[in-house]
């Protein structure tokens, strides 16, 4: 540990140690499950990681200085690995493992890199723990936003160097990049420390303040070959802070803004400037985001249009002489399996006419294609809509005073508003409101997989699949939108 701290502008080093006794260390490790904690520890013991994750070891012949050490230090990596592999095979409590790590093998401190690894492991174990917002990278030329002529190249090292330059000198950050195990994503974890120093003293002296709380951690995901990025919101206030939640959340918000502002600048290079645009899509599910904003073909072909984007085992090929199979017979194979396992506990279904059920399934297939299935794991959990349609003509007589009421209400509701409603109102720019009263109707769909739910409603005959507006199929690929005349506004075409 250096005794002299000099303010610098560089980033926090990965090998910087956080004292093991810090409550945040305990918290971060403790929220992992026992198996993933053990596999994480074994990763730390890997030869390649020793630079940043070295455990506390003593040489073979050195006398153990403390006779009643609960966790006698091991003498080599291999023996430690053995101990933890042993723990993996045995049953036991998670607490023992955490204690062993904190008080025994990493008693000197846990490095920032280790904390980052633990946080990433938690993220992989709980994919729904972060809410991600998709943003689009757009090109700036003469302060006008233009469509990209090429996907900006993402070079991690250069990007991090540039990002560090954008971050204020009295804030230090630790960056950790990780490749997602299954998705084509590179996830950047940014941990922000409010201190001008990058030594371990900064980490220790700030102990009394809640420096290591998880709200100062941000995640940015970079999908491969796609001009989008996903940022985690993490604006949830930490409950029970001694200073009161309001101060910390506003702090965090400004920190987050700082990082968000830095990202497009870090992407930019001389004569090529970028900016970030919202894409009205936020979800907890990274799979869904990768499908809608990734580098593949499904970005602008959602819902029923997805059939054009999917792989058909080489059937969609000009050298295939066979006639394409009609929709009806494709469905046959599907339903055969489904009815086989659905016979249990569905007495009401039996009464309905087979033909009607079949027809509904066909309609659902036509509208949703092969998307929005309950088990595809690509569900968004919240879908907000403001319907901006004209009030039906029949009640034209009542229009006048209702209109007044609505205006009054609009004025009154000036106090606190949710981010979603402000976001929805943003689209409400220079509208001509002369053509009649448009009531302010807001719908929120909420659930594990919103569009799969709507599909099931269509299949069950509760929603008429043929009259259902297109935005209910999720083909626009947004989680937030304004509907006018039955169509999502701003989506006359795709949001290219």
């Amino acid at each position: 540990m250096t005794t002299l701290s000099i303010p610098t502008t560089s980033a926090l080093s990965s090998s910087q140690l956080v004292p093991s006794s810090h409550p945040a260390v305990h918290k971060i490790l403790h929220r992992l499950s026992r198996p993933s904690l053990l596999s994480l520890v074994l990763d730390w013991l890997d030869e390649r990681n020793q630079e940043n994750t070295a455990p506390y070891l003593i040489s073979e012949d050195a006398e153990p200085d403390d006779e009643d050490d609960l966790y006698p230090p091991a003498s080599s990596l291999a023996s430690l690995r053995e101990i933890y592999t042993d723990l993996q095979a045995r049953k036991g409590s998670k607490r023992d493992v955490v204690d062993r790590v904190i008080e025994g093998d990493w008693r000197d401190g846990i490095s920032l890199y280790q904390l980052a690894m633990a946080d990433m492991q938690y993220l992989y174990d709980h994919p729904g723990s972060q809410k991600w917002t998709a943003l689009k990278i757009a090109q700036l030329s003469n302060d006008e936003e233009k469509p990209l002529s090429a996907v900006p190249r993402f070079h991690p090292a250069t990007f991090l160097r540039n990002l560090q330059r954008e971050i204020l000198p009295d804030v230090k950050a630790h960056y950790n990049l990780d490749r997602h195990a299954t998705l084509p994503l590179l996830i950047l974890r940014v941990f922000v420390l409010e201190s001008p120093y990058n030594t371990s003293l900064a980490l220790q002296s700030a102990k009394q303040k809640a420096i290591l709380d998880s709200s100062k951690t941000f995640y940015v995901a970079f999908p491969d070959s796609s001009p989008h990025i996903f940022v985690s919101l993490a604006t949830t206030p930490q409950p029970g802070g001694p200073r009161g939640p309001s101060a910390t959340t506003s702090d965090n918000r400004s920190l987050r803004k700082l990082i968000l502002d830095g990202i497009p600048k870090a992407f930019s290079k001389p004569r090529e400037r970028y900016t970030l645009q919202g894409t009205s899509l936020a979800a907890r599910n990274l799979d869904a985001l990768v499908e809608k904003r990734g580098g593949g073909r499904t970005n602008a072909a959602g819902g029923g249009w997805g059939v054009y984007a999917e792989e058909k085992n080489g059937k969609d090929n000009p050298l295939n002489t066979q006639l394409p199979t009609p929709e009806a017979s494709i469905l046959e194979d599907d339903t055969m399996e489904k009815t086989a396992d659905k016979t249990v506990g569905l007495k009401r279904k039996r009464e309905e006419d087979e033909g009607i059920v079949r027809r509904r399934k066909l309609v659902a297939k036509g509208r949703f294609g092969n998307t929005a299935k309950a088990d595809d794991g690509k569900g968004i959990e919240r879908f907000d809509i403001r319907v901006d349609d004209l009030f039906p003509e029949e009640t034209a007589a009542e229009d006048e005073d209702l209109d007044g009421n609505a205006r009054d209400r609009g004025k009154k509701a000036k106090g606190r508003r949710s981010t979603i409603s402000t976001e929805l109102d943003k689209a409400d720019d220079d509208d001509v409101r002369a053509d009649g009263w448009r009531p302010d109707v807001r719908l929120t769909f909420h659930g594990q997989h919103v569009f799969a739910g709507i599909r099931e409603l269509v299949e069950a005959g509760i929603v008429d699949g043929e009259k259902m507006p297109g935005w209910m199929t999720g083909e626009e690929g947004v989680s937030l939108g304004v509907v006018r005349d039955g169509r999502m506004r701003g989506f006359k075409g795709t949001g290219m």
């Binding site: 233009k146 469509p147 990209l148 002529s149 090429a150 996907v151 190249r153 491969d224 070959s225 796609s226 001009p227 989008h228 990734g294 580098g295 593949g296 073909r297 499904t298 970005n299 602008a300 072909a301 959602g302 029923g304 249009w305 054009y308 984007a309 792989e311 058909k312 969609d316 090929n317 000009p318 050298l319 295939n320 002489t321 066979q322 006639l323 394409p324 009609p326 009806a328 017979s329 036509g366 509208r367 043929e466 009259k467 259902m468 507006p469 297109g470 199929t473 083909e475 005349d485 039955g486 169509r487 006359k492 075409g493 795709t494 290219m496």
Partner: protein
Amino acid sequence: MLPSTDDSILEDTVGAQLDSEISSLQSQSKHPLRTHPFHLTPLVLSLKAARKTQATTILSSRATQATLSRLRASQKPTTSHQTSSETDISPLLSSATAQAAHSTENLYRTCAGITTFRIRDPDPHAVDSGHVLGIRIDVSTSGKFVRPYYIMLNKPWAGKELLRVHRHTVPACIPLAALAERWLPNGKGAVAMGGKEMGKKQDLSRFVRAVRREVVGYHNRISIIKGLRREFKLDEKVSRKGKGRERIIADITAADAEAKQVRIEWVDGRIGRAVVDDRGEVGKCVVVGEDGRDREVERRVVAGGMEGIGERLREGMY
């Protein structure tokens, strides 16, 4: 859907095959067949596929065509007696027509590369009462057709013939938005194709050609990089025996989404980056090793097209 008449043609072979397969399955499994319905599914599927192939072959053969045209001719005057004839040939005729149409479509797709079709938007509130123009871009690379790319266009402006991209399946590495802005402008003063007014004129055919050019270029670059990897045996396992030539190139990959930058890594630690232009010519190259830039190799890489990089590198080595 296949007409019933096909079954009679194929019944003999397929039926016999099915019987033998079922009996072999029955003899293999100790349990009665009914408890194992899933064993049959792949078999049935393969049989269905075989039946389709045979039906296609029969329907598109010259002899069948001749027979069909005779049938058609004989049918026309005797439409009133159709009910009395023992076999109804109208499904056969309709499927033959469908097959012919399909073959023609395939021919166009293979030879032209860009084909159009009509789609009806299922959305009841869709603009222009749901009329959508589909454009299919077929690209072949290294002897195979890749999955076609689709662009769907509609006319969202009432009373105007201006087109706009509605949906598409083009990945982000093709600059579709920029091309659409160039060739399908739809802002103020934009003029539809064939319009008389002055202004920014939309040009669908040039737009589609530009998109296809990008797509083809992208696939060519990808396949050249694949070829280079094969040339330097990067995807094969390193042979343990140490025979054969020493490996010199450690890795060749595309460095960006559009595969316009090629990253070359040598075993001795040199790293190179080559920038390729639209036509596949190497425009710039930097090779940096431990002792600075390697101008000799840079010159070799830049001296020509992308596909020749491997050959030119080899010349310098041996």
